[in-house]
């Protein structure tokens, strides 16, 4: 069996929860996180979060710069950047991000909270204009 030995790897900024691993508790801090295993608890990181296919995350809140999900997630996602749901993902919870993309083959239940410009026919400005015109006609 391989003997454990510390290697001078420099500054390890990346974190990974391996496929055979299970974390119960809170994960927070700086750096990217890749989850291949199971996490039960909140994740709050400054960095990109990836939930790989086969991974399982159950938490109240997941906060990260960008979030990519190919596995299973139950919980609210709050991202500064984009949220990507990749084919095969199974997500239950609300998503907030600068952009949200959901591929074909994703199962998703929840609310999307994402800021973008509405097309003119739906935006408030067009409504106001229409109302203005209607008022003029009267």
């Amino acid at each position: 069996m391989a003997q454990a030995r510390t290697q001078s790897r420099g500054d390890v900024r990346e974190a990974r929860i391996g496929s055979g691993a299970r974390v119960r508790g809170r994960i927070h801090g700086d750096g990217a996180l890749l989850v291949e295993g199971r996490v039960e608890g909140d994740v709050v990181i400054v960095g990109d979060l990836t939930i790989a296919a086969g991974a399982n995350v159950e938490s109240d809140t997941v906060e990260a710069d960008s979030v990519t999900i190919a596995g299973t997630l139950e919980g609210e996602v709050i991202a500064k950047g984009p949220v990507r749901l990749v084919a095969g993902a199974h997500v239950r919870g609300n998503l907030r991000g600068s952009a949200v993309s959901i591929e074909e083959g994703v199962r998703f239940a929840g609310r999307l909270d994402c800021e973008f410009d509405l097309p003119p026919e739906l935006s408030g400005a067009a409504h106001a204009e229409e109302r203005g015109r209607a008022g003029a006609r009267r």
């Binding site: 069996m1 391989a2 003997q3 454990a4 030995r5 510390t6 001078s8 790897r9 500054d11 390890v12 900024r13 990346e14 974190a15 990974r16 929860i17 391996g18 496929s19 055979g20 691993a21 299970r22 974390v23 119960r24 508790g25 809170r26 994960i27 927070h28 801090g29 700086d30 750096g31 990217a32 996180l33 291949e36 295993g37 608890g41 990181i45 400054v46 960095g47």
Partner: protein, 104 residues
């Protein structure tokens, strides 16, 4: 390449359980249980009971340590707690306070 890596900026408050090996370069408070090797890198802060097949410690650890095979307290490490393993080494430059149980 380790299967589970806790990077230098990351803190885990809770329990880590794995069939594979673990490298800690960040902070862990709680408990670490691995079926394979556990490595605590220089600069890591672990306040947890740690169990694994073999343990290499170069960072700071407060808690009890149990290994099936061996525990190596490397130079620069700081360990407060009891160590239980069949083979234990304490390198020159390691700081250690606690009991050693080699199961004799």
């Amino acid at each position: 390449m380790a299967s589970t890596v806790i990077g230098a900026g990351i803190t885990i408050e809770g329990e880590i359980t794995t069939d594979e090996d673990v490298v800690v370069a960040g902070t862990v408070r709680g408990k670490v249980t691995a079926k394979e090797a556990v490595t605590i890198e220089p600069g890591a802060v672990v306040e947890a009971d740690v169990a694994g097949s073999s343990l290499a410690i170069a960072g700071s650890l407060t808690g009890n340590v149990t290994a099936v095979e061996r525990v190596d307290l490397q130079s620069g490490s700081r360990v407060i707690g009891n160590v239980k393993a069949a083979r234990v080494t304490i390198a020159d430059g390691a700081q250690f306070k606690g009991n050693v149980d080699m199961d004799v």
